[in-house]
């Protein structure tokens, strides 16, 4: 099976029902997307498939087709930060950080389709992403700040 992740092609030999998350983590060693629940309740595994936020624990690799996958590693890097990552650092959002890959992928997807979200739209887009440390207030302020930056740019 051929898949494209972060603009690179990979060939994997796995069962078609294996979730994308485990192909990424265990077969390709791409560990930014995290396992949290396995049932689409926490959002820690969120990646982009053709630009849209998707729970990779629920997407069987056999259903991916020729869709392109990007992960937090493809969003930006410590040397070249995406605006969401930059704002996340400025707002000191992370505590344990385990859910943050998913939070940032969800937020990036929101801002790419709606660069000026209202409070309700932020709530609606982000409420599938669980954070047990309680970083929510800073997630909210970071998204608003990133939106402002996008407006200004």
């Amino acid at each position: 099976m051929e898949i494209t992740v972060n603009d690179e092609s990979y060939t994997v030999d796995v069962e078609p029902e294996m979730p994308l998350l485990w192909v990424l983590r265990d077969e390709l060693g791409i560990t930014g997307p995290k396992y949290g629940c396995g049932i689409a309740q926490c959002g820690a595994c969120t990646v982009h498939v053709n630009g849209y936020a998707v729970r990779s624990c629920q997407l069987a690799i056999g259903d991916l087709g020729d869709s392109k996958v990007s992960t937090i590693e493809g969003l930006g890097s410590p040397e070249s930060l995406h605006i969401i990552q930059k704002t996340w650092i400025e707002h000191q959002v992370a505590q344990c950080g385990y859910c943050q890959s998913g939070q940032m992928m969800q937020a990036a997807s929101l801002l790419s389709t709606n660069p000026d979200p209202s409070d309700d739209q932020i709530d609606a887009a982000m409420s599938g992403n669980l954070c047990r440390c309680g970083t929510y207030p800073r997630i909210r302020s970071a998204i608003k700040a990133a939106a402002k930056k996008i407006q200004g740019s």
């Binding site: 294996m18 995290k34 049932i39 000191q92 344990c96 047990r132 440390c133």
Partner: protein, 749 residues
């Protein structure tokens, strides 16, 4: 403080046995210096002037032995060392290092004594100091009890100062300039002519000289890294998906393991059929382990899938089958003299006061709760004939090592525990069942590293939970004041059981956690009594963020609120009137000021509630404002005032308070772990939801610095969160909810 003397001191709680042990060992053992573990395998040109700093030609390594579960412990420990060492901690290599007795946590037992944290009498302070002795003797390298900052505040800065002065001594010998004429800056010794000698160049020489131990710590006015907002060192990695947690590690040739253990935790396996599992793709081996079955495969998902395909017949769980039966056992001990564990607060004459007149009575209840950190339990273990290596996130690395020594028969120096950053814990990683399982599996396939990852379901059904508890409150009011307060708390004893798991033998004596957060509150009520009753340990229990105070904060403040309202007094003003601790009074006044408190009513369907709890020595007051909407209760705004003595990092302090308050409220809103057929029923986040972003209120935090001692802030935000919400719900609706979670009786937006 006169009244304090009447607090019963006959029983020394959890520390009692440890104190006796310390005396028996004598002060020699306690004062004997511990060997610096870094010296054992030092290379020729390396210096390890203290157990916390290692310098060689290539760079500086800071050892941060308290584990990072997300609370920012690595960052804070590194900055404490850097403050005196004069380096930029961002340029250093920061690692927890290998666990060792030198890294014992002296402070962790300090508040387990029968003196409340606001008692600064000479006797209380001396006993607190003495509690460092058992912590040292038992080599308690533990991360917990909000103790990383109080334990490291002097110790780590001293380490930095000793290293700095020793490097200056080496520079003085090399340059011929007297040490007191030398300065240090950004990793170098600076000579009077402005030329620099990098620490890395001086390491080899510094290693050969006697360290300078007569050093002075700088006053806070000279701090560069502390006392101001800084960027957490781990933040860029955590905001780019590049932080490696234990679950992300790979070891060459590693196999993946899954386990299914008896959901009746502690009971064994009667039989199992693994025929189907063994034929599944990628499965290498199925084996029986203690109380369960393990699968070894070539991928996590394949291992889990195969484990699910095993047909297992479980032995019956070793405790009552259902939540109803379990709580029945707890209710049966409350106010029964034979089950009394301790009475740490007994002032005035409660019995006489409650003999006649109008007595208020109420029963409160809190559920069992899972920790459920986002990163499930995991460990990688490699066992060979000569050594055992363990990679895992843990708060108890030395105890993990000792368990591995017992299981493998290897010497302690051949067992290596590499502590990993954790994706949350909340106390979950004070337990190590998963590591013991991984060791057992790795011993069966010696030479191959095995990575065990618990599925979310395995994690939430094999947790050592926050104990459920029941409290009966009684009281009386007179002349608009609270006059009598009597609280009886029933709970299973948590710490003796945990010590038993850690050290192989439990400790006898009472368990403070049954009433921590109730008995030790800084109030002066004419008739004031708090009693702990001990239920048997049934389902597995352990420490959960804020430990005993997590339930007691709710019990104590809810009863107090009810009595104050019964007296017709203002909830904030009466708490302030009753409070006997100046620092706590200022915290209560501050939360009133920032919330614009003018009584608990805020108009139709709106209300505010105040709550207070001193836990881990931190007085914490919360005001919550709520509105009853058609969709349920909405939490509008939360105000928090705390006092930690000295604020080392205001940005992280705020984050920890946000986290603590949300953690406390989230579980109070909708979480519980219940049992049927001996098994925990909530096995994933759909049934244990907590708070979602749309439910999170704006939270305003103010930290005061009036307290005498520096304190940690990881836990104190939790205990007053639930009662402030409950008190606010009452103010808005007239409905008093005495049992958590609230959503059994009221909806939330």
């Amino acid at each position: 403080m006169g009244r304090l003397r009447t607090i019963t001191r006959r029983t020394f709680l959890i520390g009692s046995v440890a104190i006796v042990g310390g005396v028996a060992f004598g002060t020699y053992m306690a004062k004997r210096p511990i060997k610096n573990p870094l010296l054992a395998d030092l290379e020729e040109d390396e210096a390890a002037i203290t157990p916390y700093i290692k310098i060689d030609a290539s760079g500086i390594t800071l050892i941060t032995p308290r584990a990072d579960k997300g609370q920012g412990a690595y960052n804070m420990q590194a900055r404490l060392i850097a403050e005196e060492l004069d380096i930029d901690p961002v340029t250093a290599n920061i690692t927890p290092g290998l666990p060792g007795p030198a890294y014992y946590n002296g402070t962790v037992l300090e508040e387990s004594i029968p003196f409340p944290a606001y008692d600064h009498s000479a006797m209380a302070e001396n006993i607190r100091k003495f509690m460092h002795v058992p912590a040292k003797l038992f080599a308690m390298q533990i991360t917990g009890g909000s103790s990383t900052v109080p334990d490291g505040f002097v110790k780590l800065r001293m380490a930095g100062a000793i290293a700095r002065e020793t490097l200056k001594k080496a520079a003085a010998q090399r340059s011929g300039v007297a040490r007191d004429l030398l300065k240090t800056e950004d990793g170098s010794v600076v000579l009077p002519d402005g030329s620099r000698l990098a620490y890395t160049e001086l390491a080899a020489a510094a290693a050969k000289i006697e360290p300078v131990t007569d050093v002075q710590l700088r006053p806070s006015s000279e701090w560069k890294h502390l006392g101001k907002p800084t960027e957490r060192i781990d933040m860029p990695a955590k905001c780019t998906g590049t932080e490696k947690y234990g679950i992300d590690l790979r070891i060459d040739g590693m196999a993946h393991a899954a386990v299914r253990a008896n959901p009746g935790v502690g009971a064994g396996v009667e039989s199992f059929d693994a025929n189907e599992a063994e034929s599944m793709r990628g499965v290498q081996q199925v084996l029986a382990i203690k109380n369960g079955v393990a699968v070894i495969a070539d991928n996590t998902w394949r291992a889990w899938r195969a484990a699910d395909a095993i047909d297992i017949k479980w032995a019956v769980g070793p405790y009552p089958a259902s939540t109803a039966e379990i709580f029945n056992e707890i209710e049966n001990v409350v106010d029964v003299e034979a089950h009394r564990d301790h009475r740490q607060r007994d002032e005035g004459d409660v019995d006489e006061a409650l003999e006649d007149g109008e007595i208020f009575e109420a029963t409160y209840k809190v559920p069992y709760l899972a920790h459920a950190p986002m990163e499930p339990m995991n460990a990688i273990v490699l066992v060979t004939d000569d050594k055992c290596e363990i990679w895992t996130g843990t708060q108890i690395p030395l105890f993990v090592r000792d368990h591995a020594v017992k299981m493998t028969g290897l010497d302690a120096e051949n067992v290596f525990v590499y502590v990993q950053p954790m994706g949350g814990s909340f106390g979950h990683k004070l337990e190590n069942t998963h590591v013991l399982q991984a060791i057992e599996i790795a011993m069966a396939v010696k030479g191959t590293a095995v990575k065990l990852v618990w599925s979310r379901e395995e994690d939430m059904t094999h947790d050592y939970l926050r104990p459920g508890a029941v409290a009966k409150g009684r009281g009386k009011v007179a002349d608009g004041k609270v006059e009598t307060f009597d609280l009886s708390v029933g709970q299973s004893a948590l710490l003796p059981d945990w010590f038993g798991r850690l050290m192989g033998t439990g400790i006898p004596g009472p368990d403070a956690t049954i009433t921590t957060g109730s008995w030790d509150q800084p109030f002066d009520i004419p008739n004031y009594r708090v009693t702990g009753y001990r239920a048997p340990v049934m389902v597995p229990i352990s420490s959960w963020r804020s430990v005993g105070a997590s339930g007691n904060g709710f019990f104590h403040d809810s009863l107090l609120d009810e009595l104050i309202l019964k007296a017709g007094a203002d909830p904030l003003a009466e708490r302030i009137r009753l409070c006997l601790d100046d620092t706590s009074i200022k915290v209560l006044e501050k939360v009133g000021e920032i919330s614009g408190w003018d009584g608990s009513s805020m108009g139709e369907n709106r209300g505010r509630g105040v709550a207070f709890c001193m836990s881990f020595g931190v007085p914490t007051a919360i005001v919550s404002e709520v509105t009853r909407t058609e969709a349920g209760i909405r939490i509008d705004k939360v105000y928090v005032a705390v006092d930690v003595g000295e604020v080392l990092d205001p940005v992280n302090l705020e984050a920890q308070v946000f986290g603590g308050v949300i953690f406390g409220m989230a579980h109070a809103m909708n979480c519980e772990t219940t049992f049927e057929n001996h098994a925990a029923q909530q096995n994933n986040y759909h049934a244990f939801e907590g708070m979602r972003l749309y439910q999170v209120p704006e939270i305003e935090v103010v930290a005061l610095s009036n307290a005498k001692k520096i304190r940690g802030i990881g836990e104190p935000g939790v205990p007053p969160a639930a009662p402030s919400l409950g008190n606010a719900i009452y103010a808005a609706t007239g409905q008093r909810i005495r049992e958590l979670p609230f959503n059994k009786q009221i909806d939330f937006v």
